[in-house]
């Protein structure tokens, strides 16, 4: 699968006014959870590696970042599962708003599981892009016109 590389592009432009109806509070709350469970936790394994970590450790951290993104008493969830859970709750007319987020997650998973592994900094940017896209979506949906 080939998807656009958010890391190779400029930061997302300010969100346009949404076209659909108001976003339910419950979905917004799920988005807040997603910001933590996916947006934060996909970054952590790589961020918590020493700066001079050998490639094997970088690979392991990258793999953990996308495959064991959120762990806890409720189980182990990969990045794609966390995103899928969220998308299920998004109204159909709002799914289009999530395209950039979906693309960033797909790109992060692809980079983290490809061989040979890309440079660490490229992985970092890809993971951070997921958080950026979630924040952009929250900003868009919480804008007065989006409610």
């Amino acid at each position: 699968m080939t998807v656009p590389d958010p890391a190779d592009t400029a930061p997302p432009a300010p969100p346009p006014a949404p076209a659909g109806g108001a976003v339910e509070e419950a979905v917004l709350e799920m988005l807040d959870d997603l910001a933590h469970d996916l947006g934060r936790h996909i970054r952590l394994p790589l961020a918590l590696l020493p700066i001079d970590a050998p490639p094997a450790e970088v690979a392991a951290a990258a793999s953990r970042a996308v495959q064991r993104t959120r762990t806890g008493p409720r189980g182990v969830f990969g990045a794609d599962e966390l995103l899928a859970d969220f998308l299920e709750a998004v109204p159909d007319e709002r799914r289009g708003d999530c395209a950039a987020l979906e693309a960033s997650v797909a790109r992060a998973i692809e980079l983290a599981t490809t061989s040979p592994l890309p440079e660490r900094d490229r992985l970092r940017v890809a993971f951070e892009s997921v958080a950026t896209q979630i924040a952009a979506l929250a900003s868009r949906w919480r804008a007065p016109a989006g409610r």
Partner: protein, 596 residues
């Protein structure tokens, strides 16, 4: 040399000792990072996945004793029955997202000395309202980033803060940047004989720090001598400073040493130096230049080896500019050695820890301890139960062996809003009285047959308001500023120590103090007042000595009935509380007076 001092001096690298941390986190990411990449942090036990598990773990003494600090996640995706309540109206989802804050409240209430590093940043907190609460929480830190260095830095900060929050040479430094900077400079300036200029408002703890930190850190073998030059008549200053030989002046019936000689090999604290006369300043300049003094009537100089600490409650540079202080003396003292202690109103970040410490150390006063034991015994705790400050949202159940003092939010807000013109000294006095009145109220209630369900004493917010409104000028501790922090060996109402350490110092004696004071005076005869009129004390000190004696007399006349005393003094029998307050502020002890 202590580790703290090594840090202050810089340049000395020591391998940090292993730090035992408790990880409270529902996920495995940080645990993996700790195990794999941070060998200097040792997990004291298994990762605790939720609040109840963490509290149970720490409630075991052996676990608590091994725990240096807690690393605490904020967002806990755990079943609802494992969530600690966040507050009224919070949904389960909100409670999960801010569960770390709920856990933190419990940790702060039960183990206030335990540092906590929250594994989040202020920007990531789910609710803005929590930022202020966390910012005010003592010994609580938030990560500034997600990388290993951010974690290392915060762990270091948290441990350093705990070290400073605990007793360090008897001084509480706190987290305020001004105090931290002052400590860092003083750690350097303490060494050697170079003078130090210590500036700060009244009550900021200048003399306490001078003795407990500068003198202690100096390693000088001689004594610490404190001298308040502002209260001496100018014609007595030379003899006081430099000594006098027998017959040097009328009344000099024996040789006497001056404070410069008495402090030989040690430290001389010159308090209120900005109030000295031009002649005194001239003489001080000569001594500092020549390091020799000549006692009155002597024919030879005497070499002196003294480290001088010049204290002022005003800017000495400002006094120089105004022509009230000699520029050459200021330069000799060394402007580069000037350290300013910030007033309490500028270090409000330390207020919570100071309040907690003063409350919990109030029982160092034997009178308060006796009251505490009276209440503790009635509640089944027995004697010696430690006082523990409980924040308004503290746990409902107090740990079994402690007596909780509950400070409700309005009282805490009043303490925060108060300008504290008397600084830490005023805070110490107010909190001492808060504890006394709270214990008295509890003792009275228990004696009247009221049943208390838990060993928690609610502080009356109106009492705090009243104490703050009635906060009076500090008692005349002319030569001994009260502590900067809670490491106070003597309660705020203790009798003031003598101005100079040794009785034979040749220093003027002080005004008689209350019965039972260090003077050993049994008090005046009933119906009489006695004040030894010597030129060493301020008018305030004289007035308070008289006031103490009058209170003592009334106390005995009324059989210790504060209502009757209020009727006599204020014409209002209902003002007993105000009289009791003033009684305490004067350093009087009902127990001591009743005991004879």
């Amino acid at each position: 040399m202590s580790a703290v001092r090594r840090e202050a001096e810089g340049g000395v690298h020591v391998r940090p000792a292993a730090v035992n941390v408790l990880l409270v986190d529902d996920g495995e990411t940080y645990e993996a990072a700790l195990r794999e990449h941070l060998p200097e942090l040792t997990l004291v036990g298994p990762r605790q996945p939720d609040g109840p598990a963490a509290l149970e773990f720490l409630s075991r003494e052996a676990h608590l004793a091994r725990t240096d600090l807690v690393l605490l996640d904020v967002h806990f995706d755990v079943p609802e029955d494992r969530l600690l309540p966040l507050g009224a109206g919070a949904t389960p989802r909100q409670t999960r997202r801010a569960q770390g804050v709920a856990i933190l409240r419990e940790l702060r209430a039960r183990w206030p000395h335990l540092p906590v590093v929250l594994l989040t940043s202020a920007e990531e907190l789910p609710f803005d309202a929590l930022r202020a609460e966390l910012a005010a929480a003592p010994l609580t830190f938030m990560l500034g980033g997600d990388d290993l260095d951010a974690l290392r830095i915060r762990v270091h900060e948290a441990l350093a803060a705990r070290r400073l929050a605990r007793e360090e040479a008897g001084v509480f430094w706190g987290r305020d940047p001004g105090m931290v900077a002052a400590r860092r400079r003083l750690a350097v300036l303490a060494r050697g004989r170079m003078p130090v200029i210590l500036e700060g408002e009244t009550g900021t703890g200048k003399s306490w720090i001078a003795e407990r930190f500068i003198h202690a850190e100096s390693g000088r073998p001689g004594p610490f001598i404190a001298a308040d030059l502002s209260t001496l008549p100018p014609d007595l200053v030379p003899a006081y400073l430099f000594g006098a030989q027998r017959g040097a002046y009328t009344g000099a019936v024996a040789d006497r040493k001056g404070v410069f000689e008495l402090a030989g090999g040690g430290t001389l604290f010159l308090d209120e130096i900005q109030n000295t006369t031009a002649e005194t300043q001239r003489q001080l300049l000569l001594v500092l230049q020549d390091r020799r003094v000549r006692p009155l009537g002597a024919s030879r100089d005497v070499p002196v080896d003294v480290k001088v600490i010049a204290a002022s409650n005003q800017s000495l540079a400002g006094a120089v500019a105004a022509g009230r202080f000699r520029a050459d003396l200021y330069m000799r003292l060394g402007p580069a050695t000037r350290v300013v202690l910030p007033p309490l109103r500028q270090r409000r970040g330390d207020l919570a820890e100071l309040v907690r410490s003063f409350v919990e150390r109030a029982t160092e006063d034997p009178d308060v301890a006796a009251l505490r034991d009276q209440v503790g015994t009635a509640l089944g705790l027995g004697t010696g139960a430690p006082l523990r400050l409980v924040a308004g949202r503290g746990p409902r159940e107090q740990a079994g062996t402690t007596l909780g003092v509950v400070l409700p939010p309005p009282a805490w807000q009043a303490l925060q809003a108060h300008p504290w013109p008397g600084n830490v000294r005023e805070l110490a006095t107010v909190l001492h009285n808060v504890v006394v009145f709270t214990l008295v109220a509890a003792a009275d209630a228990l004696a009247a047959g009221v049943t208390l369900r838990a060993p928690r004493l609610q502080v009356d917010a109106r009492l705090v308001d009243e104490l703050l409104r009635g906060s009076l000028p500090p008692p005349p501790l002319a030569s001994a500023d009260p502590p900067v922090g809670p490491a106070t060996p003597a309660p705020p109402t203790a009798a003031p120590p003598p101005a100079v350490g040794a009785p034979e110092a040749g220093c003027p004696p002080r005004v008689d103090t209350a019965p039972g004071s260090t003077s050993g005076d049994a008090g005046p005869e009933p119906g009489t007042l006695r004040v030894r009129l010597v030129p060493a004390d301020t008018l305030n000190a004289v007035a308070q000595a008289v006031e103490r004696q009058y209170f003592t007399h009334l106390f005995r006349e009324t059989g210790g009935d504060f209502g009757r005393m209020a009727e006599v003094l204020l014409g209002d029998v209902t003002k007993a509380r105000a009289i009791r307050l003033r009684f305490n502020q004067l350093g009087l002890s009902a127990r001591a007076l009743r005991g004879g």
